[in-house]
């Protein structure tokens, strides 16, 4: 079991939750309040929903041997557009639809640069990462747009017993899981990531696949942006989704998907995203001093990554090379 690629991330998650419960026993308490669940774990799920959603999109991008640095900026644009639209008197539904349409366009742009022009993903998406936040600030004219719209509030702060945000994220996760693992799509994505040339020669339409995953990542970022701004009923172009691309990439890596592309694990991504959000919540709950937060987070992440590395797996596990074979097959069942 110790050799399973998710052993250490799950252990870290469990450890963090135990730490929270020891310091503050009320943390694990769950109660119904006005028809919704209220408790520490629910907070983790709700606050972690945007990161999880973006990480799902990022998983597919990384599986094709790409990376999308622009997701934070795209999230900012989405929230900025929707809030500005609503503030100008528009309907929340139109606002969200248009904002998501805009994000699909941005995803198309990223995908075009990468799959058609063949620009390196890190550079291609860096363009939108920088320009996108500027665009968001143009939309909001540099102000924080505050709105008060009951419908728009739902997507980030609303509840259907569980937070609506996490229901959306988990729904997308399951859908992607069913779509890629239930059909050959997942295998094709992995093939493109493992060897783009060989897969093209074998008849896989790698350009379409690569283009599609960037559009999907843009859409995920757009929905996450709506959640982030809806959660506080305000669009802050400067800070919304700031560094969330790093959190998403980290979630994917912690989940065991290699940045070199190929094999990916959606379950792993989910666990990774939860570890990251639980880490943030733990910092607040346990009362780590503000100037020690970054060091504390870094230590936990380093510990998980070190324990996950192939070298330490050999140290901890039985000293047999053959053991790596079953290890691989388990992942295909992911999600």
């Amino acid at each position: 079991m110790i050799r399973h690629h998710l052993f250490w991330p799950v252990a870290a998650l469990a450890l963090l939750i135990v730490l929270n419960a020891v310091v503050n026993p009320a943390f694990l308490e769950l109660r119904m309040q006005d028809g919704r669940l209220y408790g520490g774990v629910v907070d983790i799920l709700r606050n972690g929903a945007p990161t999880l959603l973006i990480a799902v999109g990022m998983t597919l991008v990384i599986a094709t041997r790409g990376i999308d640095l622009s997701v934070g900026a795209v999230a900012a644009i989405s929230g900025a557009f929707a809030c500005t639209w609503i503030a100008a008197g528009g309907h929340a539904f139109t606002a969200m639809t248009l904002a998501l349409g805009l994000c699909v366009l941005l995803g198309l742009w990223n995908g075009f640069l990468v799959s058609v022009l063949g620009i390196q993903p890190i550079i291609a998406t860096l363009v939108l990462m920088t320009a996108g936040r500027g665009g968001a600030m143009l939309i909001t004219e540099g102000q924080i747009i505050t709105i008060n719209d009951p419908l728009y509030r739902q997507i980030g702060a609303g509840f259907l017993v569980l937070p609506i945000a996490i229901l959306i994220s988990l729904g997308v996760l399951l859908l992607v899981g069913a779509l890629t693992r239930g059909t050959a799509l997942g295998m094709l994505v992995e093939a493109v990531g493992t060897n783009p040339r060989a897969s093209r020669l074998a008849g896989v339409r790698s350009r379409t696949i690569v283009w599609t995953v960037y559009v999907f990542a843009g859409l995920c970022a757009g929905v996450a942006g709506l959640m982030i701004s809806s959660n506080v009923s305000a669009a802050d172009a400067n800070n919304a989704g700031l560094w969330i691309e790093m959190d998403a990439i980290l979630a994917v890596v912690i989940g065991g998907t290699s940045l070199a592309g190929g094999r990916y694990s959606l379950t792993g991504t989910m666990v990774g995203a939860l570890v990251i959000q639980t880490l943030t919540t733990t910092v607040y709950n346990v009362g780590v001093a503000p100037n020690a937060i970054l060091v504390f987070k870094a230590l936990v992440v380093i510990a998980v990554c070190l324990l996950q590395s192939p070298h330490s797996a050999r140290l901890f596990g039985p000293r047999r090379r053959a053991a790596s074979a079953p290890h691989r097959s388990e992942e295909v069942t992911a999600a």
Binding site: V23, N24, A26, F27, Q33, D34, Y38, G39, G40, D43, N47, G142, Q143, I144, T146, A157, I228, N231, V232, S233, A234, D236, N238, N239, A240, T280, T281, V283, Y284, N285, G287, P290, N291, I293
Partner: protein, 318 residues
């Protein structure tokens, strides 16, 4: 390389035109020329600050050369150099960062152009490099927040603090001033303090965690309005009434904060005033007339209770 040369050419051109029009504005007539380099337009506060300076210059009949540094020090240094070359009467700027100003300020000093710092201070051993620093006293803002709490607290009071970005001057000073005042009052205790990064979502997330780990919170002290507004959301979600079950004190007094104060969600706001234009123009005139000015001048700032907010809101500028 090509880019460098273009930039160099542009600079030379700029310098040439600047030299060309150099001495005329100040020497011929009595109009004062003020070169002002702003940080950028990163927040509503800053926009209000810029508008105040522009409006005040127009009212005072001062010729304002305005330059936006877009939050980059090199832009600001370039702007100050070009002000020196234009031979403006006074240079004013809000430094993007604290250090690295000595060389360019020395150039201004050699050209005999007085410099006024606004809003933010610089960290330099040589304080003859500038005439005066006009800006908010963040420690005093923290003290004002603490004083209101001391006057209004009844019995045992548990405070949670939402700090600004770790290491930022306003965060450090607003904490210090607040602690200084409540230190003499053992029944007021800060039971938890954490950074919310000056953002709404930061304030909300931290407040959620505070509500989870402490069930005896009486007061929230947030270093800016936005974090306070985030805390309001968290308190509502926990089924409590912000402003009543838990009292909220914030600093800044931006539009959204003032509205929440008027509606009773926030209890007290200490103003951090961006409207320093008139004070700046007065100083510019004094400096040009060679009058002695103090090294440190505080912006006139006030505080708002809920009633005062309702009265002040209709004609707030920002």
């Amino acid at each position: 390389m090509k880019k460098c040369m273009t930039a160099a050419a542009a600079l030379t051109l700029l310098a040439a035109t600047a030299c060309g029009s150099g001495d005329s504005p100040s020497a011929e007539d009595d109009t004062i020329t003020l070169g002002f380099s702003q940080v950028g337009a990163e927040s509503g506060w800053r926009t209000a600050n810029t508008e105040s300076v522009q409006q005040a210059a127009e009212d005072a009949g001062i010729d304002l050369q305005f330059s936006d540094a877009q939050q980059k020090q090199e832009n600001q240094i370039r702007a100050i150099r070009s002000f020196v070359q234009q031979n403006v009467d006074v240079i004013a700027f809000s430094p993007v960062v604290e250090t690295g100003w000595d060389a360019v300020l020395l150039e201004a000093q050699r050209a005999d152009i007085p410099v006024i710092l606004t809003d933010r201070a610089i960290d330099s051993e040589d304080d003859t490099l500038y005439e005066t620093f006009l800006g908010s006293d963040f420690v005093e803002e923290g003290r004002k927040a603490g004083e209101w709490l001391v006057d209004n607290a009844e019995g045992e009071t548990n405070v949670v603090e939402l700090q600004g970005t770790t290491g930022a001057a306003p965060a450090i000073d607003r904490k210090e001033g607040f602690e200084e005042v409540i230190a003499d009052h053992p029944d007021i205790e800060v039971i938890a303090t954490q950074t919310g990064d000056f953002t709404r979502s930061g304030g909300k997330e931290v407040m959620e965690a505070f509500l989870r780990s402490h069930d005896d919170i009486d007061v929230v002290y947030a270093h800016n309005d936005d974090m306070g507004l985030g805390a309001i959301e968290a308190i509502r979600a926990a089924g409590m009434e912000p402003g009543e079950d838990i009292q909220i004190i914030t600093v800044d007094a931006v539009q959204a904060g003032m509205e929440a104060l008027a509606e009773g969600d926030i209890n007290f706001i200490v103003e951090c005033n961006p409207l320093l234009g008139d004070q700046l123009m007065e100083l510019v005139e004094q400096v040009v007339a060679d009058e002695e000015v103090p090294k440190r001048i505080e912006v006139e700032e006030t505080t708002f209770t809920q009633e005062e907010a309702q009265a002040a809101l209709p004609d707030r500028k920002y």
